[in-house]
């Protein structure tokens, strides 16, 4: 381990080699600070009541960021300033050969401008707009300017999907991929791709920080991760949020002109978003308890599988996975194969891959597949779309899984509800509004 691994980082003494620790001993900072009845963890900046943080040996620990290794009052933190020691590029590092559509180019130009001024910026583009490609010109410019860049996302799947695309698009750069299950070890790199949790290990490192799917769990309601993102950036850095479904808070700040935004309401293939059909079937849960589906529902699923189209069935909680899968298996022909998947599923990655490889025809899933996944020619159904687990953005994202390919830019989105609740109304309205804007753009 050499000191380049500490540039722009904030690491615990236990994460350093003995040698490096010794050479930097005068730079050590306490990892936990006491403030009255609270302790403040200096890595994640969370405060915890002393009675919850106290250990029997008289020390304190931070329960908030323990997934990255425990911080306690016996630890120290180490940091070295970011020197941007990257080799100068003489030509463009972009090896991507593709073309952006005029709409994408327009958005992309605005992003390039954002690079020159510090602060926050939002790119709001509908699901399937081709957000990643729109970033390429901005990334190219930042790389040429020797800027240090991070692409972060709350979702590990998104990071895993992003990494090979970035590697393929920028062959001259060696990006580093960091998350809890990543086998790569850390190395100093101009381009980091990581989960938002990993940002806790950085301090004033990035000139450009891009957060993809910024409205997703766990980033969206975590003060800890928001603070971490802020601290991971240089004071003069640029922070770019990417999403198809901005939070209420963001929408308000856009209206107040506090958050500059570029906006793309049309998909890369220039077709409008599929509008969900809302089916009010108030007896679906009773039927399910008797191991059945309403007839209308069964017919729809049978039709999908007869057309040999893959589909996803979303359920509001883990407990429903098993019974729904059971009924599906009983009402569909034997050669139509499916499985269930949830966040802590040990076989999660294999199952999703089997779906991609057409070994499975369908998956019954919780909201974990609401975003960051693309299956061509997909249909989706949400059972209990009126349940609280499905936020407006979750509903819009799920609908956005459909019609993403050029070959089949349409598909069925069906919301099964007992009540026509506000979230469902709002989601359908949001999609219709986006389509209106998209339609206008197409006819300009």
């Amino acid at each position: 381990m050499d000191k380049t691994e500490l540039y722009g980082r904030l690491l615990l003494d236990t994460e350093l080699t003995m040698e490096l620790r010794r050479s930097l001993i005068d730079r050590a900072q306490p990892a936990v600070v006491q403030q009255g009845n609270y302790i403040e963890c200096q890595r994640c900046l969370s405060k915890t009541r002393k009675e919850q943080a106290m250990l029997p040996n008289g020390t304190y620990y931070c329960p908030q960021c323990i997934l990255l290794g425990r911080v306690s009052s016996t630890n120290q933190l180490y940091h070295l300033n970011e020197p941007n020691l990257f080799s100068k590029l003489t030509q463009t590092p972009l090896s991507w050969q593709g073309q952006l559509s005029p709409f994408q180019q327009n958005c992309s130009k605005k992003l390039i401008k954002a690079l020159d001024r510090p602060g926050k910026y939002l790119m709001w583009a509908v699901t399937g707009a081709g957000k990643t490609e729109m970033l390429f010109p901005m990334l190219t410019k930042a790389l040429l300017q020797k800027k240090r860049i991070c692409l972060a996302s709350p979702r590990v799947d998104v990071c895993n999907e992003l990494y090979p695309r970035i590697v393929a698009a920028f062959r001259k750069i060696t990006p580093v991929l960091l998350h809890g299950h990543s086998k790569q070890s850390y190395q100093y790199s101009q381009l980091t791709i990581c989960t938002t949790h990993q940002l806790l290990r950085f301090q004033h490192a990035f000139d450009l920080l891009i957060i993809d799917e910024v409205d997703a769990f766990p980033f969206v309601n975590s003060q800890m991760l928001k603070k971490a993102a802020k601290r991971a950036m240089k004071i003069s850095g640029t922070l770019v949020y990417l999403t198809a479904t901005p939070t209420k808070n963001m929408l308000v700040r856009i209206k107040q002109n506090k958050l500059p935004v570029s906006y793309l309401p049309i998909r890369f293939h220039r077709k409008l978003l599929p509008v969900p059909q809302v089916w009010l079937l108030n007896h679906w849960q009773n039927k399910l308890a008797r191991k059945k589906f309403p007839v209308k529902l069964t017919n729809c699923l049978r039709k999908w599988s007869k057309d040999a189209l893959p589909f996803l069935v979303f359920v509001p909680n883990i407990e429903l996975l098993k019974p729904v899968l059971q009924v599906l298996r009983s009402v569909l022909p034997k050669n139509v194969l499916g499985d269930s998947v949830y966040s802590a599923d040990p076989q999660r990655i294999t199952k999703v891959q089997a779906m991609r490889d057409h070994q499975l025809n369908y998956l019954v899933t919780t909201t974990i597949l609401e975003r960051g996944v693309t299956f061509p020619s997909l249909n989706v159904m949400i059972l209990g779309a009126d349940e609280r687990t499905f936020s407006v953005s979750a509903l819009v994202q799920i609908a956005g899984r459909v019609g993403r390919s050029q070959k089949r830019p349409y598909g069925d989105v069906i919301f099964i509800c007992q009540d026509y609740v506000k979230n469902v109304k709002d989601a359908v309205q949001q999609i219709k509004d986006l389509n209106k804007k998209g339609d206008k753009l197409l006819n300009e």
């Binding site: 620990y61 329960p63 323990i66």
Partner: protein, 230 residues
Amino acid sequence: MNKCLMCGREIKIKLTLKWLLSMQHLKDPVICQNCMESFSKIELRSICPGCGRRQKERRLCQDCQRWLKMGEENLLKNRAMFVYDVVMKEYMQRYKFSGDYQWRLIFQEQFTNFIKQNSQQNYLYVAIPVDQQTFNTRGFNQVEGLLQNIELSELLEFQTKQGHVKQSTKTRKARMETGQPFKYKGARKLDGENIILLDDIYTTGRTLYHAKHILEAQGAGSIYSFTLAR
């Protein structure tokens, strides 16, 4: 509303008639019912009477038969609450090895009740100790963390002050060949006192039998044990 320590979801509390009639305070659970049910509870009716392992018939398992062959006269009659499966391993990983002391609260109350309900009176409770080095870095003894208001007798300590190779890092064979790690810490010899040993996990039984031998040599009476997992 409280959030589940394990899955982070909000905990919904069902108010039952039984609770209403019990006139007790409403206790805030620290994990949700779903997460609690992901642990496999051991029914005491069908276990190995020697070590408390879950099995179909109530007869001595091979491990316990081996202890008898090795010259053990009285088995520990260990009783465990949960199966040491993947879910429990993950729990131990977080609580003990990551050192998330808050996670003791997940089992503290029910493990304490389990011990009290299943043990007779006039027993001394002895928790398996951790060595000094582990205590310093971990900050707590994981067995004591799982107990609430149980008066413990400090009769055991580690022979050496330095760290030892942890049982959890060894293979089964290496565990069984581990030498006596403990020594007696009591002020005086024992005079036939009955003892209940408490530990977090019963894997091979090696640690608990080592502890038993030390106490027997000091004149203890009958010795049983309780663990959270088997």
